[in-house]
């Protein structure tokens, strides 16, 4: 912009190279730049440490650790999806793991169909649990799930459809705030109950498991796991980048206006419900992708993923990290889940105390989360210094 204002300036002898997009990002949005850089380094380093470094070496990463990091990245993507709607649009969804689980189930159905005759009952078409339930035919919604592109389409479509219908109903009738939170919770609770039923055709209580391979690659192979890991990292990076682009766009500005003053945005003439609906549906699809990447890495999907408490946990990741920043969601998801992994191993009884205390402490004392701590401290120091300077000068 400044270049347009100085046409008369003497032409410099030497023109500096225009800044690369990376440099722009590092200058304008340093945290995002740092996050994407770290993500890129991790994506490249983990495969090397896992595959190239021999086992037993200090720097060797075990398959367990790789899967664990992959899992955290799925959670981070889910947290980014929640932050997008909660942090930027004020929609507190207490049912976002429903979309995560739906994406996971779509992927699980594909993996189930890939088992083929290697199942316990060896039926070429029907998954084991259907043979066990004495079903003769594949239910209609299982058709086509053996085709990978179609299954991936379903990963996006199933959560997107649910979010679209639910959001269309809810936002149009202006259900907001706590009411919306409670009905999203009821939604995931209803799905939890439904998926527990054997008659639903999703494996009931046990869910879907015993997966063998993905696109012909054995899921137990280290190389397959690394590819899955890298796919997750790429999805997280791309998802993050897309969300960042959305919130920085004109659309994103309107969404933030809706968060801050919904009625005012409506009176200015924006169709608030449409903005909310698009954002909510996109966020649900993102959650679905996270779920689809999660399932082949952990090897199981069952109705427990729908439990309302899981959704609320996602919200606390975002709150701990700092809502409305996107990178805060990533930081929160990884921090809380790392703490959970360590704590449930060392002190299983204490974990719920810690998690509960986190909820209380973060809402009472850390409204801007962990990533807000540093700027807040800086700000406090600055005002303190200014005050002292003023005190000295007078």
């Amino acid at each position: 912009m400044s270049t347009a204002a100085e046409p008369a300036a003497p032409r410099p002898a030497f023109k500096p190279a225009p800044p690369t997009p990376y440099q722009v990002m590092m200058r304008e949005d340093r945290p995002s730049g740092v996050f994407l850089t770290v993500l890129a380094i991790v994506t490249l380093l983990v495969p090397i440490l896992h595959l190239a470094v021999p086992e037993g070496h200090v720097l060797h990463l075990s398959g367990y650790t790789v899967t664990l990091i992959g899992k955290y990245m799925c959670y981070a993507l889910l947290a980014v999806a929640v932050d997008l709607i909660w942090g930027y649009c004020g929609i507190l969804s207490l049912g976002h793991t429903a979309f995560f689980a739906l994406g996971g189930y779509a992927m699980g159905m594909y993996l189930m169909r890939q088992i083929g005759t290697r199942g316990v009952y060896g039926d070429p078409v029907l998954p084991d649990f259907m043979v066990f339930l004495n079903w003769k035919e594949l239910p209609w919604f299982w058709h086509g799930m053996d085709v990978f592109p179609f299954a991936m389409l379903m990963v996006l479509f199933a959560p997107g459809l649910l979010a679209g219908v639910f959001g269309w109903l809810a936002f149009r009738s202006r259900v907001t705030g706590v009411y919306l939170s409670i009905i999203t919770q009821a939604l995931t609770y209803a799905l939890l109950l439904a998926f527990f039923r054997n008659e639903m055709g999703f494996g009931g209580n046990n869910g879907l498991t015993d997966f063998k391979d993905l696109l012909g690659f054995d899921l137990k192979h280290p190389e397959t796991r690394i590819v899955l890991f890298m796919a997750t990292a790429v999805a997280l990076g791309a998802g993050y980048f897309t969300c960042r682009a959305i919130v920085r766009s004109r659309f994103g500005r309107v969404v933030q206006a809706i968060r801050d003053a919904e009625s005012r945005a409506r009176f200015i003439g924006y169709r608030v419900e449409n903005y909310k609906l698009w954002l909510f549906t996109f966020s649900a699809m993102l959650a679905g992708v996270a779920g689809a990447l999660y399932v082949p890495q952990v090897g199981i999907i069952n109705p427990g993923e729908f439990a309302p408490i899981n959704s609320i946990e996602v919200v606390i990741w975002v709150a701990v990290g700092g809502r409305g920043t996107l990178y805060g969601a990533v930081v929160g998801a990884i921090m809380v889940n790392y703490a959970k992994t360590v704590m449930t191993d060392a002190l299983p009884d204490a974990w719920l105390y810690v998690l509960g205390a986190l909820f209380v402490v973060v809402t009472l004392f850390l409204p801007r989360g962990v990533v807000g701590l540093l700027p807040d401290l800086k700000h406090k120091l600055q005002t303190l210094r200014q005050r002292r300077a003023r005190a000295i000068s007078t």
């Binding site: 507190l92 639910f166 109903l169 809810a170 149009r172 009738s173 202006r174 259900v175 705030g177 706590v178 009411y179 939170s181 409670i182 009905i183 919770q185 009821a186 939604l187 609770y189 209803a190 109950l193 439904a194 527990f196 039923r197 309302p308 408490i309 609320i312 919200v315 606390i316 709150a319 009884d349 719920l352 105390y353 998690l355 509960g356 205390a357 986190l358 909820f359 209380v360 973060v362 809402t363 009472l364 409204p367």
Partner: protein
Amino acid sequence: MFCLQAGAAMAQAAAGHEFDTAVAALPTASYLEKEELAGRIARSAHPQALTLLRGWLDGKLHADAAGHAYLEGEGGYTDALSGAAATPASPDELEKIGTNNRLRKALKGLLAQFGLASAEPGMRIEAVREMRRELDESAVAALQARLPQETDAAVKHEIELALALAGLASEEPAQRLAAIASLDGDRSTEVYNRLSRMASGDEADADAAVRNAAGAAVRSIDSWRSFYQGVETLFFGLSLGSVLVLAAIGLAITFGVMGVINMAHGELIMLGAYTAYVMQLLMPQNTGLALLLSIPAAFLVSGAFGVAIERVIVRHLYGRPLETLLATFGLSLVLQQLVRSIFSANNRPVAIPEFMSGVWQINDVFSITYNRLYILIFALMVFALLLGVLKRTSLGLKVRAVSQNRGMAKAMGVRTDWVDAATFGLGAGIAGIAGVALSQLTNVGPNLGQAYIIDSFMVVVFGGVGNLWGTLIGGMALGVVNKLLEPYAGAVLAKILVLVALILFIQRKPRGLFPQKGRAAEGH
């Protein structure tokens, strides 16, 4: 052991009891002698005589080598003389005291007369019912003989019923028709089964007129039965509704009146249930009194927790509902884990006192369990009490004033922070009372509260926030709808359908069934 029992039997026989000597003589007697002995047993009017004769007739009477008699029951052997549980020394060597046709007939007759002649109307009814199982000529004759002498109306009714049932088996179509006509108005399951067999199916009556009459009678009983089944479903629905109302009514105060989202509400219910458990531990001899005392105790425990929650957490978050939701949710996790640490993760048994257990059998189709009935009444009492507190006391006046216009209430000298704490404590205390009631219906465990939190919020939102009557009607309606759907959809699907219907309902009417109007609505 064996010698001891044989000796005891002989000692009693020596005492000269008619009953004992007759029984002792049975194993060695001939059939003719047995008939005579059976008569003596019946005339002895010994309390065991009826059981013994009946067992004998069914081929359940055995004797060991020493001549001691045992009755074979479902759970093992009993001493034929005393009726007490007894173990024969060698069950394999027992020999059945046999009967022949003639003797069986005599026994039946004796049994009938024996029962019919009893001075107790209850015993007589028992005898008639027993005879109804197998109505042969001798039984009919005995009943017909008894009918004119009978004075007790209930026994008379039973005899008439038995005679009518016998008439159904008559050779003459006219007599069968008459029997069906005389059965008009009787709706017991026994008559129903018998008539429906006659009306259609493999054993349908040969005579068309009789079939039609039986069919008409069955239809009339059918409509009566479906009416009472409907009443039963309604009762189950109201019972479920009363549980929902109890769970939700505390929330109707904290969420509805104060506008505070308390996700730890379910855990306050759980604390109430555990209070009932602890009270029973303190008073193991008197579970009934412990239960009654745990009502105020649970109110105090949960209420104290509620006041503490309000003072420490909720107070700082007024006007920030989403943050309140998260903070109180965290608290609910802590409370669950606390209970797990103290009482273990397993369910704790809370005994149901005597006055709460049992069934009130209204008729063959419809019965009510007392615990559900009392909890329904209890829920209504709690509701009435709460309504009274809010509408008729100075605290209630202040609560309503603060919820409608905080600033104005403060200006009028109401100590709003004190009122906030008291209101929250009241809602929490009511949750504790609900927990005591729930301890009588479900398992008491750390997850008790979680099961009710979503339902409770749904009831409050459905009924209309800030409206106690809405909560009552909403809860009852949800309970009844749930139970109405259950026969068609199954329990889980019914619950899912209700949840989905609720989600859709809230979209249509975000302010619930009975939205607040006027000044009260402005507070929110």
